[in-house]
Symmetry: C2
Subunit: 260 residues, 2 copies
Amino acid sequence: MAPTPAPENSALYRELAMRLRHAISDGTYPPGSRLPSEHELAQSFGMARSTVRRALTILGEDGLIASHQGARRTVLAEPRLQSFGELRSFSRWARSIGEVPGGRVDLLERRGASAVQARELGLAPGDPLVYLVRVRMLTGVPVMIERTAYVERAGLRLSFIDLEHESISDRLEEHGIVFAHAEHTIDAVNASADDARLLEIEPGRAILRERRRATDPQGRPLEWSEDRYVGDGVAFTIRNSLAMSPLTRGRAVSTTGNPP
Amino acid sequence: MAPTPAPENSALYRELAMRLRHAISDGTYPPGSRLPSEHELAQSFGMARSTVRRALTILGEDGLIASHQGARRTVLAEPRLQSFGELRSFSRWARSIGEVPGGRVDLLERRGASAVQARELGLAPGDPLVYLVRVRMLTGVPVMIERTAYVERAGLRLSFIDLEHESISDRLEEHGIVFAHAEHTIDAVNASADDARLLEIEPGRAILRERRRATDPQGRPLEWSEDRYVGDGVAFTIRNSLAMSPLTRGRAVSTTGNPP
DNA sequence: AGCTGTAACTTGGTCCTACAAGTGATCACG
DNA sequence: CGTGATCACTTGTAGGACCAAGTTACAGCT
């Protein structure tokens, strides 16, 4: 058999993973049930067992199925719609849950990198970058303040974007700037007077703070952002397994200094 | 070549992944440098390319290396000591960062499941479970309140454990109760009067709340826990990539009701 | 010097085989 | 009727082959 040339960006194993995910969420394989054996899947989809295994590995990493030597795989949970894009982009996430994303630009300027920003973006202090502060809303209600420093390469493209309504991620990707890796640090702080004003809440309310550094496929930093979510508006969810755990608990570092 | 019989629980590819991880953290392959090619690694470790690839896949999922068709893999970051065990167990985590874990039991009793607990643990409301409230400390300083509901199977073992000093996870594993999957939901709330008293902070301070459901390898729920961390004491970190993203952002659900 | 085209190298994807190790159900036997 | 041994099935690990597609470096040409 000739190895299929892969029609689009879709590999066979990713295709199958997607199909199985759907099959789980549409009730073909409800939680608690067992999946067909690797052999059967290979047979019925016309691919090799190794390819099937690769697809199943993905579902396992997502925490959707459990597997043990000797026994058929068990469906654990229904998949949540989630993707890297939804996580990085507020707009995409908002649309995916049926809300209307909105934003108000509070500040957009070219400036020199602070010490923290320089360290996180791999620049020298004072190197030029683009700094953007936005209040993000879900269907009119403010839920998050976003303070992002973009490296120049990405940031200069921002001038051409309608920041109030368009998705920065979408636009940047069209210009060949792709976000591939991200590191998120999550903790809790009390709302400052400034936060309270922008989010229309009382000062002191609990804020879920996410600091994020995103890089391109080569690992070069693209953005460093501090997002502050209204405490009771948003939650983060992680699934992990013995085999794979991308989540770490750490002592909080006081990188509080995100400049005015 | 006969496939090596695997000396311990260690598979070849996991062995190699571990070695590479060490090689990265000890500076052999510093961030920014490129790894040897799959072929070279296979050669020098005497294994097949497919096995090497499997090891490299793991590092990629951990966000340690970036890889692109055609070019050698690039080292992105140093590995953080992290493991599923450290994430689930406060004791293990504390020891791993060089602190002395401590705890004070506030409450331990057998009781009937509340509606929320029943749903999360797959029980009927009123079914017996074991409920444990502890204040956890790092080197004497309280940093977290842990309110955990164990299914009976796991919970009944608790009576034999010295809850103030021993690690519950360690002990339960010795009894054949293994935690294999977990789902964590993280948001921020303000400290209640009760929280403030137990954690020795002022009421209203920002609290990082982690709700967690852990299951055994078969996917059967073992525990459902709500942990409240002092906001400026602890942070969670997640790495993710285009290829894999176990982290989801969701609207906060008001599962606030963890009983008195 | 600068550019271009090509060849060698490198990773991505698919398929195959073989064997080890654990599970589950059947079946024969006491 | 229970019980234990057996065996087919299933997943885990390892090795290997082949080609596609992207990157890099170098040689040679202008």
